[in-house]
Subunit: 449 residues, 2 copies
């Protein structure tokens, strides 16, 4: 990818310098919006408005949607009111909302001034929902039928109004009070007889979400039921919007990224890595590092407490990193597996005992294997005394078992009490496991040695 | 979700016991396939065939696709040849391939015997592609037009053949040698005039993938271009199949899970956590634990090497866990951010210097913040001498900077030489960083103390 982009970039730069605007227009208008957006980002920013104005109206709007917020803002600031209106008129309402959410207040006011009243009403409708819920990612543009329409009338209706809708392939059947009573796919419409009534061919068991449902649940529903659109209803089952599959894909990717970031003790951000400033990266990372540094003071305290034991048997200190490392790795294996299961809706609170019982068995097997390997290594290669080897190996096995138990339980418990399981992952659990493993180690050392 | 399922489960169990099969049939046939599959899994397995036989033909096939491999296998073993044929006839070819890939050889032979020759040919076509490439997740059932068809003829063609296709919403235009020359959406067909020729309304700039492209690239294309289907072509640009968005969603989720598992030192598996046996979990985890245990021997060696220094200044040992922990956390923050960027195609090799420069600045800021906080804590709370406090704090800053540099560089380099960046994540980098941080610590200790 890198190479092709570089070639196209070079070509366009040359064309720009030679003022070959007709050629430029022809070239740009063969490209996909996402690729143009990427290209505009990599060219010097002062060239951006010239190139953008060469795009056809529709492609310009699509490209605009794909651009990063900072580029969008600088384009808007350069737009005349007319130009802004042309772009805004072509936007889908959910895309307009996404853009507005990223803009400063004065730019938002300018955008809304250029928006026709219907669209403005829809935008405000979506803006009122809190972030991360179904309402905030839906669009209010969809194809809507009354149940007594015939198939022929329905198809005519799509042909007339379908151009402006984000997806026409699933149509929604509602009563006059907007209550959702069924869906019908275009596939079904095309196959049905012209005189069939919609109410006879519609699917009545509709999978829907509530406006306030978490967007992660929305994404999981798409995956589970293989949907391309999902209706969003209010508490009275009245249709208020739909979520389309492209937005669900974005949610799935963003939620996975968030989980991964939290597991690595980073405050999640929706900015791509290369777009985030150094200060933003520092802010996302430093609180966690400070917190974890503070908490690892406990392990330090434990070691200080047993300083005399370490002084008496210096070789014990050499195995602390191995013990803490293996404990930490064992714990995060369990916690990460469980956290991912929770995110994908494969595990919920009622499964806690199944999970714990599974982890106990896995951890006993892992603990024994590791302890055995360790015992052999200690006796044959390190040539330590049998009692030291026993202390290290037994402590190792107990540490692994404890670590996996803590690791699998904490995420489920923290989800139950409303905390984020991913935050509970590796670093936190590692800190807890570190402390426990040291205590176990010194406990066995004081007994056996 | 857990509660509703439990209620329905109870209801169905009662209906089953009372032999109310007509009611059962009515209830089951209102449910979605994925929910029925989940339900069959939670009920006693000997009830499964009875319930399954109550489903309508189409719903039975859809439910079958949603079931886990072990349940599918036990159902097939109970099926008569006729029953098997009924299910197989209703399957989409890509679903059939997914099922076949999970079955033992004798079951596969039975399935293929009940498959009609056309379908068998398509199945074998897909089976020949290696796992994880576009060819292996595509379906060979799609709607195909010649360029000289009129819109009216095209719509008639869809109405005749569309029932059996997985998606009819994007149709593909090919020359007689199967070369892909354009796509046309049903949306466009519905809006166009009946006499328009397909070649005049088709989109000629088609985004496609090659049969051997990595399935992760396929998923990234769906996200980037907001597609609902993506054509798969061979090296001569001949259309061989399409990937549909539901399969792309599965890939996105699976790839994220794989990345997360690898970052936590688990061999990835496509089995959900609760479905994996204890032995399977052990097998996925123990090699990494053994390997990492072995590698943490190095840190042990380093500590042994400096045993005399530790004996002379015992307080130094107390800060080893804090130092190693903070180094490890700093390193994984950087590595995980970069690995995720690589997976989402936001970062590639040409960005390595940008990434490193960014991480150097972030790490210097993090290092100074942490060292300052640590210095204050050591002097005011731990009340250690100024020289010890300096050694610990300076070592901490240098460790953090080194850790972030190693953490951001290794994933990019390992991707470049063809290794999996995710495997390079936290545990490995932690081991390297642990060793480096200890060396730095003892180096400063020997200079200053």
């Amino acid at each position: 990818m890198g190479e092709t982009t570089a070639t196209i970039e070079k070509m366009l730069t040359v064309l720009l310098e030679e003022h070959k605007y007709t050629t430029l227009r022809d070239v740009l208008n063969t490209m996909a919006a996402a690729d143009i957006a990427q290209l505009l980002d990599s060219l010097p920013h002062e060239k951006m408005p010239i190139l953008f104005r060469l795009l056809s109206k529709e492609l310009a709007a699509e490209t605009f949607v794909e651009m990063d917020a900072d580029l969008q803002e600088s384009l808007i600031r350069g737009f005349s009111d007319n130009e802004l209106k042309e772009v805004v008129d072509e936007l889908y309402v959910d895309d307009a909302v996404d853009i507005i959410e990223e803009m400063p207040a004065n730019v938002v006011r300018r955008i809304l001034r250029q928006t026709d009243p219907d669209m403005r009403k829809m935008i405000n409708e979506i803006l009122k929902y809190p972030d991360d819920c179904a309402g905030s990612i839906m669009t209010t543009e969809y194809v809507n039928f009354k149940p007594d329409l015939t198939v022929a009338e329905a198809i005519k209706h799509i042909r007339r109004s379908g151009v402006d809708k984000e997806t026409i392939y699933t149509c929604y059947v509602t009563k006059s009070d907007r209550t959702l009573i069924g869906i019908v796919s275009v596939q079904k419409l095309l196959i049905a007889d012209d005189d069939d009534e919609i109410s006879n061919i519609m699917e009545e068991n509709v999978i829907s979400v509530n406006t306030l449902d978490d967007r992660e649940d929305v994404a999981n529903k798409f995956a589970k039921y293989n949907l391309i659109a999902l209706p969003v209803v209010d508490r009275e089952n009245r249709l208020v919007g739909i979520v389309t599959v492209d937005d669900a894909i974005d949610v799935i990717r963003e939620e996975a990224t968030e989980d991964i970031e939290k597991m690595a003790a980073i405050t999640p951000s929706d900015k791509p890595y290369l777009k985030a400033s150094v200060l933003e990266l520092w802010k996302a990372r430093i609180p966690w590092l400070l917190l974890l540094m503070l908490s690892s003071t406990f392990t330090g305290l434990i070691i200080t407490r047993f300083e005399s034991a370490l002084a008496a048997c210096g070789i014990l200190a050499a195995y602390i990193p191995m013990l803490m490392g293996t404990g930490g790795n064992s714990g995060s294996q369990a916690s990460v597996a469980v956290i991912r299961g929770l995110s994908l809706d494969e595990i919920d609170f009622s499964d806690i005992f199944r999970v714990q019982w599974k982890e106990i068995r896995v951890s006993v097997m892992c603990g024994i294997t590791l302890a055995a390997a360790n015992l052999i290594k200690l006796l044959l290669f390190d040539r330590v005394g049998i009692s030291v080897a026993l202390v290290v190996s037994v402590a190792l096995a107990v540490t692994v078992i404890t670590a996996k138990f803590v690791g699998c339980s904490l995420p489920i418990l923290s989800k139950k009490i409303g905390f984020d399981p991913a935050v509970m992952a590796s670093p936190f659990i590692t800190t807890i496991v570190d402390a426990i493993s040291l205590l176990i180690y010194f406990y066995f050392a004081s007994i056996i040695l």
